[in-house]
Structure formats: structure tokens, C-alpha cells
Assembly symmetry: C2
Homo-oligomer: 204 residues x 2
């Protein structure tokens, strides 16, 4: 059995990471979405182990010290992180794990789990990104400019990924990611045992 | 516009290269099958420029000397080769070119066109390969053993390719190759310009 793939899906906010990941899981329920640990309080309706693993600050900081995160970040005084052990258990069982994550987190995973498949989701155009961010309606003009500058810097990081997927339509982006997953499983680097076994069987 | 992909499909005889390539072209008529040059005589029904480019021995040897082949071989005193210029013209026009070729030829293309996508087609099992070779009905037991030894050595070369595709069913093998083609077009190494252009558009 092949080890599962860790599929890291990142991109600037406004690229549509969440929607695309939902579409992946809907069409292919054998994919697993990684569940993060966090120190923030559960919101109404959130379940421990489903939306997040809710842990104390002490526990989180001990885990950081023990190197137990594939990546983590501190946002508005709350920690968020991807527990390495949970992910690795699923990968070892042959499950493919989706990690939906911002570009800063993805950069960390490139170091902690370089065997991952790194996919950068791009908006179809600058105009479209602007309109998606504006339509959230929560941004002042000043903030919009800041977000666009940040997005431009993030997009430049895409050069370090394995794949770019333009999110011009959610089903199209989803199917491109499915093609990537299928192709990655066929890479020779993941199939040396299969080749060797077949060569030996034919020789007999 | 992206340069087209050179998709090299190889494998031992009995892997089903020809059938799978036909299936690729039937489902995706924008793929181009590379046409070889040969010095052998056209058989009944063969058309120059469709099945082969039929050329004289002198012309072929001049082309060898001028380095005009992506790969060539001499089989039973006849030359066969893939003309580099024809292939590169189609690639430059954005067409994806399929090269169906034996492992020896593929080895040459790894040197002459390393940007190619190298796919090794595998039989589903040693037993199946044996039965496919036997069913051709043209082999003595002695020859069968020789062919299997040769096939085992060829299969071991698969380690040097980019992808392996098991040909357990032609439609399944075809769809795996389509996934590889789609994924390869999304590789960051083929999309640096797109990333750069988008980052600059967003910055404005």
C-alpha cells in the first residue's frame, strides 16, 4: 500500500481555498481534511475533534517545544497549529490528507514535511481578486489596498510550490486538483517497490 | 501560451503501448502523434507523412550526422527515427505531442529532450505479460523466455522515468495519462510567467 499524500492547498485570501476544499471533500469522501489544534474558545456549534482540537495554552506551548506541529501560528493572541502525529497516522494508513492553510503555514510545512504536494490556488485575475475581497464588505479602502499588497507578495511565493491551480470556477479547480492527486500517485518516486516487484515476477 | 508537452510513452512489448496511444488520440483529438522517419519501403496502404516519412538511406544518415533526431534506431537493416524539427514545431505551436517508443528510444530522448514527460507503461502482472506475448502466437517457447528476460530488464528501466502507469484496462490507463498531462501543465516550473504576471497585476 502506498503512503497517503499530504496535499497542501494554499493561496492568498480571496483565492477560494475553503470553497475548493469543500468541493474536493464532497466529491471524494475518502479524502481527510486535517483538523487543527487551537487555544481559542469553541464558538457555538463547533465540536472538539471536528472543527478543531481545543486545547489549553500550556498544552499548545508544550507541543511547540516538543516539535509536534507541522506548522503553527499565533493570530490575535490565539495559537493555531497542525498536529504532526494525527496527520502522519492517517498518511501511514494510506489516507490522503488535505491541509488548507495560509501561505505562511505552507512555508513551514515545506520544511517539516517536504514530501507534501504543494498546490497554490490563484484567483483568475487581479480584478477578480479585488472584487472578491471587496464583496466581503468588511474592508475599508485603506484595508483593501493593504490586503492587495499582501496578496501580491503571497502570490509571488507560488514559485516555490509544486503546482498552481487557477480558481476560475470551483468545479474546474477541483478537477485540476484531482488530476494532480492521481498523477502524483503515479510518480516513479512513489512506485519503486511496484516496479521492482514486477521486474522480479517477470524474470521468474 | 504554454509550450506543448512532449509525452513519451514507453514500456516493454506486451504492455499495450499502441492500444493505449490510440485510445488517447480517440478521446483527445488535439493530441498529435509523432510521425517517424524510416528507410524501409512503404507497405500496402501506408501513406508518406501519415504512417511514416519515407526517406532514402543517404538522407537518413545525413540527418543523423546533423543531429536531427530526438532518437533513432537501426532494426533489421532499416533506420527508424523521430525528427526533432517536426516535433519542436508542434510543441512551439502549443500542441501536445505523443511519442510512442520502445525503452531504448526513450533513453535517447531523456538526453535529447529532458523536458519531456516520461511515462512507462506496465503490464498488470508478470502472468498477464506472459499471456499477452504468448497469445500473439508467433513465439516459440525459447523465444518467449528470451522476450520475458528482455521485458524484465526493460521494466527495471522504469525507475528512470517520471511516471508509471499500469495498463490493467485501456480506459483506466488512458485516463491516468490524461491526469498526468493535466497535472504537468499545472506544474509551477511551467507557469512562472503566469505567476509573475498575476502578482504584478494585483500589485497595481
Amino acid at each position: 500500500m502506498q503512503t497517503g499524500l499530504l496535499i497542501v492547498i494554499s493561496g492568498p485570501s480571496g483565492a477560494g481555498k475553503g470553497t475548493v476544499c469543500q468541493a474536493l471533500l464532497e466529491k471524494k469522501p475518502d479524502l481527510v481534511l486535517s483538523v487543527s489544534k487551537t487555544t481559542r474558545q469553541p464558538r457555538a456549534g463547533e465540536q472538539d475533534g471536528v472543527n478543531y482540537f481545543f486545547v489549553s495554552r500550556e498544552e499548545f506551548e508544550q507541543s511547540i517545544a516538543a516539535g509536534e506541529f507541522l506548522e503553527y501560528a499565533c493570530v490575535y493572541d490565539h495559537y493555531y497549529g497542525t498536529p504532526r502525529k494525527t496527520v502522519e497516522k492517517m498518511l501511514a494508513a494510506g489516507r490522503d490528507v488535505i491541509l488548507e492553510i495560509d501561505p505562511q503555514g505552507a512555508q513551514q510545512v515545506m520544511h517539516t514535511y517536504p514530501e507534501g504536494v504543494f498546490i497554490f490556488l490563484l484567483p483568475p485575475s487581479g480584478a477578480e481578486l479585488r472584487s472578491r475581497i471587496t464583496n466581503r464588505g468588511t474592508e475599508s479602502m485603506d484595508n483593501l489596498a493593504k490586503r492587495l499588497t499582501a496578496a501580491a507578495l503571497e502570490i509571488a511565493q507560488a514559485h516555490q510550490y509544486d503546482y498552481v491551480v487557477v480558481n476560475d470556477s470551483v468545479p474546474a479547480a477541483r478537477d485540476r486538483i484531482f488530476a494532480i492527486i492521481m498523477a502524483e500517485k503515479l510518480r516513479v518516486s512513489r512506485n519503486h517497490n511496484l516496479i521492482q516487484a514486477l521486474a522480479e515476477e517477470v524474470k521468474k
